[in-house]
């Protein structure tokens, strides 16, 4: 084959491959545009004022297609399927309590996207923000609204190559004290201090402003740990607990449990642990749950499952009875007033 023939072949390849690439991009861009248009039959969403301390409304990240996609949105507690009021604040993860909100959001930069954690006041205005080292995954506010925590996935931390690990930070919204990485707390398992590089901590749930529960993982095992900000300690209480969520009365933990004989692609089931007896109860939800559940009240759990528009919210009783049912479609990261 002479040079001309090779160059012509190269040109042909560039044209064909370029066409496919441009086509794929336009197709994806068109789909993204569709997501900005309101879907037929979807929930009604209109912008309006949203407050964090309004007991008559539930809050969540609106996943429905349209101009208000990803915004923190309010619906009447009594009629969750009713019209949604969008705040204009976009969050990937969100939580709120007593008039303080935490919003983990993407910041679209010139060269790459970055993430930040924004502490919100009662009317969803930014009080301050913190740059994040990775992809947001969990966020929680303490019951008093004074302390907030968040977890991100970080890549580039591991010694085995391009692996992922977590980083969890806790901040006092008044004193401004930031614990940037809970891995610096002293972890004890069975009364032994664990000093490993592979410790990961994620999924904080607050008991009060100083005490919290979270997941700590090391050497391939996960534990429910009780954390204390004043002594900077984490103490393991129970194995095989991920993404804990403390009940309003502080006696039980709802969590993801990794089931040994389950499909390894979908290993997590929703369980509830009694903190006094350490007895585990399986909920009636038998599907794979990869979320940090929230307590709607003292005996009802709410969690997300994949849905037509990314995520739907489902609910199931915490005592193992009943059946799961869909609470809200196209919604994520809910907050209910207590």
């Amino acid at each position: 084959m002479n040079r001309t023939a090779r160059l012509l072949l190269l040109l042909a390849a560039v044209l064909v491959l370029g066409g496919v690439a441009v086509g794929a991009t336009l197709h994806a861009a068109g789909r993204a545009d569709r997501k900005d248009r309101t879907q037929a039959g979807g929930p009604e969403v209109a912008s309006g004022p949203v407050r964090l301390d309004d007991p008559r409304h539930g809050l969540f990240r609106n996943m429905a297609w349209g101009p208000h996609r990803d915004e923190i949105t309010a619906v009447p507690e009594g009629r969750l399927t009713g019209p949604r009021t969008a705040s204009g604040v976009r969050c990937l993860r969100f939580h709120a309590a007593s008039g303080t909100g935490i919003c983990l959001q993407a910041v679209h930069g010139e060269l790459r996207d970055t993430y930040r954690a924004v502490v919100l006041d009662n009317r969803l205005r930014e009080r301050r923000h913190y740059d994040l080292a990775g992809t947001p995954t969990r966020a929680r506010v303490s019951p008093s609204g004074r302390t907030v925590a968040w977890t991100v996935f970080v890549s580039g931390d591991s010694y085995a190559g391009t692996a992922f690990s977590t980083r969890t930070s806790v901040v006092d919204t008044r004193g401004r004290h930031l614990d940037a990485n809970l891995e610096t707390y002293a972890l004890t398992v069975d009364r032994h201090r664990v000093r490993a590089v592979d410790i990961n901590v994620w999924g904080v749930t607050f008991a009060d402003d100083t005490h919290f529960y979270a997941t700590a993982a090391t050497a391939g095992k996960t534990y429910l740990v009780r954390g204390d900000r004043s002594t900077r300690t984490l103490r393991a209480l129970h194995p095989n607990v991920e993404c804990p969520s403390l009940s309003p009365d502080g006696t039980r933990i709802a969590y993801k449990k990794r089931i040994a004989d389950a499909d390894p692609d979908a290993p997590w089931r929703l369980y509830v642990l009694d903190l006094r007896t350490l007895r585990e109860t399986a909920t009636a939800e038998h599907r794979n749950i990869d979320d940090q559940a929230v307590w709607r009240d003292g005996h009802t759990l709410v969690y997300s499952l994949p849905g037509d528009y990314g995520s739907d919210l489902w609910t199931v009783p915490a005592d193992g009875t009943g059946t799961p049912h869909r609470l809200l479609s196209a919604a994520l990261a809910p907050v209910f007033s207590r």
């Binding site: 491959l17 496919v20 996207d113 992809t135 010694y159 190559g161 990869d290």
Partner: protein, 438 residues
């Protein structure tokens, strides 16, 4: 382009023919077209693979809703597999009187290209892991034959620079990849399918360029000082290691590899030592890559002048300097970060392509692929062992002491390597550092 602007050929030594043909031609005399084409293939392929690498965490978490924890263990296994596959690729490619190099490399590049659309079809962590394993297999297969082709196409005296040019082009692609991915995601929010499809198209283009423009049989550019000869086309690893030059080089690569702390550990130590904002962590590799990109060609040329093994050693002393900065008692700040990253990039520039060039000096043509694979696999395996040991040391003693231990180890390994690599009398000329086998 890159070369023509950056490195005017030294005029006194330019042949009349080169001068008559003008600038472009002179550059070509220094860097053969095969090397430039292979550099282009690597550049294109790295754009493709780094596009995927850049968005994969986001895709797993945001789109598939998976928790990417636990990926690390698998990743370590893949890297081990990739190192073994590299030996196989090197061995296979040495068959067929030199035709094998292109064929095996094409299969390697092709395998990785095929993985991109597959990523769109799998939605669970184990299957995604399997696809990435095939991708690494492709990378393992192609590396040794590609380096063999570069070494065979370049004149022995300019081999260091040829590898420098290739590594610079390769790194340029790696830097472009994430940018392309994020531009695509900007154009189409959540357009991961677009990213994977474009990545596939780019990878296929790389294979097309390889198939069309890399000659089937890489002709030796000039007399090859490594000698033709006794090794034969089916040289097993043992026979290769029986050659003192290969044995010493492998030993040094392993020794020094055992004290080369992995990139992510270095960045993590830097971040913790200086208490950098965590948001900086993903930017640190870019600093190393930028330094590597700008220094690869000059370092390659320097290697040709002062000797490749000497520069390979010097590069590790530069790394020792980086460890030293990390251990320095003073506070630091942006200057210290830049210093460490510059030294880290300079270390790669002085060792990565240079080791391949030094290996080529010591391995006969017909076993070039196997020889490169043996030395590079030894180095990779040693670095993995170092990672495990460094992790244990960090756990037991904290990061400061762990870095200190690595620095002491590196100094010892460098001293030992300096003895091992000292040329046997009579000393060969710097441009032909290999010994002449009788």
């Amino acid at each position: 382009m890159y070369l023509a602007d950056g490195r005017p050929a030294p005029s006194p030594s330019v042949s009349p023919g080169g001068r008559r043909d003008g600038r472009g031609r002179r550059v070509r005399a220094a860097v053969p077209s095969t090397v430039l084409v292979l550099g282009a293939v690597s550049l294109i392929t790295d754009i493709s693979s780094e596009m995927v690498t850049a968005v994969l965490p986001l895709y797993l978490v945001a789109e598939l809703g998976l928790s990417p924890l636990g990926f690390g263990v698998l990743d370590g296994v893949y890297n081990g597999v990739s190192a073994l596959v590299r030996l196989v690729g090197g061995r296979l490619s040495d068959g067929g009187g030199g035709r094998g190099h292109k064929a095996v490399a094409a299969v390697g590049y092709g395998l990785s290209a095929l993985c991109k659309p597959l990523l769109l079809m799998v939605h669970t962590l184990p299957l995604i892991g399997a696809v990435l394993a095939v991708d690494r297999t492709g990378k393992g297969l192609r590396t040794a034959p590609r380096d063999a082709m570069i070494s065979l196409a370049a004149e022995p005296a300019a081999r260091g620079r040829a590898f420098g040019v290739h590594r610079a082009m390769d790194t340029a692609g790696a830097l472009c990849g994430p940018l392309v991915a994020f531009v695509l995601l900007r154009a189409a929010a959540e357009g991961y399918d677009a990213v994977f499809t474009v990545s596939f198209c780019v990878a296929v283009l790389g294979v097309v360029v390889l198939l069309l423009f890399v000659p089937g049989r890489a002709l030796p550019a000039a007399e090859d000082t490594a000698g033709r000869g006794p090794a034969g086309p089916r040289t097993p690893v043992r026979a290769l290691l029986r050659r003192p030059q290969v044995r010493r080089l492998t030993a040094c690569a392993v020794l020094l590899g055992l004290t080369t702390v992995s990139d992510s550990f270095l960045y993590l130590a830097l971040q913790r030592r200086l208490d950098l904002p965590a948001g900086w962590l993903p930017l640190l590799p870019l600093g190393t890559a930028a330094a590597y990109l700008s220094l690869a060609v000059p370092m390659g040329a320097l290697a040709d002048r002062i000797g490749r093994r000497r520069l390979f050693l010097a590069g590790h002393l530069v790394l020792l300097g980086a460890y030293g900065l990390l251990l320095a008692p003073f506070g630091g700040g942006a200057g210290l970060v830049c210093g460490v990253l510059l030294l880290h990039g300079a270390f790669y520039a002085a060792t990565d392509g240079v080791l391949a060039a030094a290996t080529a000096d010591a391995v006969p043509e017909d076993a070039r692929g196997s020889g490169l694979a043996v030395v590079q696999t030894g180095q990779t395996a040693a670095r993995f062992v170092c990672s495990l040991a460094f992790g244990a040391a960090w756990t037991a003693w904290g990061d400061h002491t762990a870095v200190l231990a690595a620095a002491v180890g590196l100094a010892l390994a460098a001293a030992l390597s300096a003895r091992l690599l000292r040329p046997a009398a009579p000393a060969p000329a710097p441009n032909s550092p290999s010994e002449h086998t009788p």
